[in-house]
């Protein structure tokens, strides 16, 4: 299994990002990717990135700043309306 690290960002860094992290792990595993996910709030992004390398940032709350790491809008995963799109967006970034 290939490995990747995803930073999941939501307002409180707890509930919504944990939901998304769980789904990302499950769905990307089916595509051959082992995901390590870390959850944080928009204020915690900078320090999370300083500590570890991440392959992409999955945003449930908007992250406006550019950190040089690709971002994916992950709200569609919470509503279920565009779950496949979110996975596709992640894969596009990971499989480069």
């Amino acid at each position: 299994m290939k490995k990747c690290r995803i930073l999941c960002v939501c307002g409180s860094g707890t509930v919504s990002s944990a939901m998304v992290a769980g789904k990302l792990k499950e769905q990307l595993a089916q595509k051959g990717w082992g995901v390590t996910a870390v959850e944080t709030s928009p204020n915690g992004v900078e320090s999370a990135l300083a500590g570890e390398r991440f392959d992409l940032i999955a945003c449930v709350s908007p992250v406006y700043q550019d950190y040089g790491i690709p971002k994916v809008n992950a709200v569609g995963m919470l509503t279920g309306l565009s779950e496949a799109q979110v996975i596709e967006d992640c894969l596009k970034i990971l499989e480069v």
């Binding site: 939501c10 307002g11 409180s12 707890t14 509930v15 919504s16 990002s17 944990a18 939901m19 769980g22 789904k23 959850e39 928009p42 945003c59 449930v60 709350s61 908007p62 809008n73 709200v75 919470l78 509503t79 279920g80 309306l81 779950e83």
Partner: protein, 152 residues
């Protein structure tokens, strides 16, 4: 899995005219039964303004107000049917407004410890048939049964 659905946290046909009022009233259910500290309601209201929690699902819209674990005493999910839809801003897109018909207000202490609960709530959101069960429950007792069945 830690149980988070309790009869005292379920309400049907709640009257409210605004997101603020929803948070006050539903937050009070959590407060009155000892699930949260008295700082929870204000924190959830403030958080809703900055990071709204409305979600447009396939057939209806819901909202999932919550706030940081420091305001929580013990985990619980408040499941509330609204008497009439209330406007919330959409998560991730604050300019987009949705008319929420169901509220899932969460008191979560440790998302890693409660990952199963969170995934169950998420599964509810993603399944239009299940959401309909919540919305169509006739009264708090039935709503409680639906919530126990799908979230537990």
């Amino acid at each position: 899995m830690v149980r988070t659905v309790f009869r005292e946290l379920v309400a049907a046909r709640l009257q409210a005219d605004s997101a603020e009022e929803v948070i006050q009233k539903v937050g009070k259910m959590l407060l009155d039964h000892g699930f949260v500290k008295d700082t929870y309601i204000d924190a959830a209201a403030a958080r809703e303004k900055e990071f709204p929690t409305g979600l447009k699902l396939m057939d209806i819209a819901v909202a999932m107000p919550h706030t940081d674990p420091e305001h929580v005493n013990k985990p619980g999910v408040c499941v509330v049917q609204l008497e009439k839809p209330v406007i919330f801003s959409h998560m991730g897109s604050p300019d987009v407004k949705v008319e929420a018909e169901m509220i899932f207000m969460m008191a979560i202490m440790d998302p890693d410890a409660q990952v199963e609960t969170l995934q169950k709530v998420l599964s509810v959101f993603q399944n239009p048939e299940i959401v309909k069960e919540f919305k169509n429950a006739a009264g708090a007792d039935e709503l409680f049964e639906v919530a126990m069945k799908h979230i537990g």
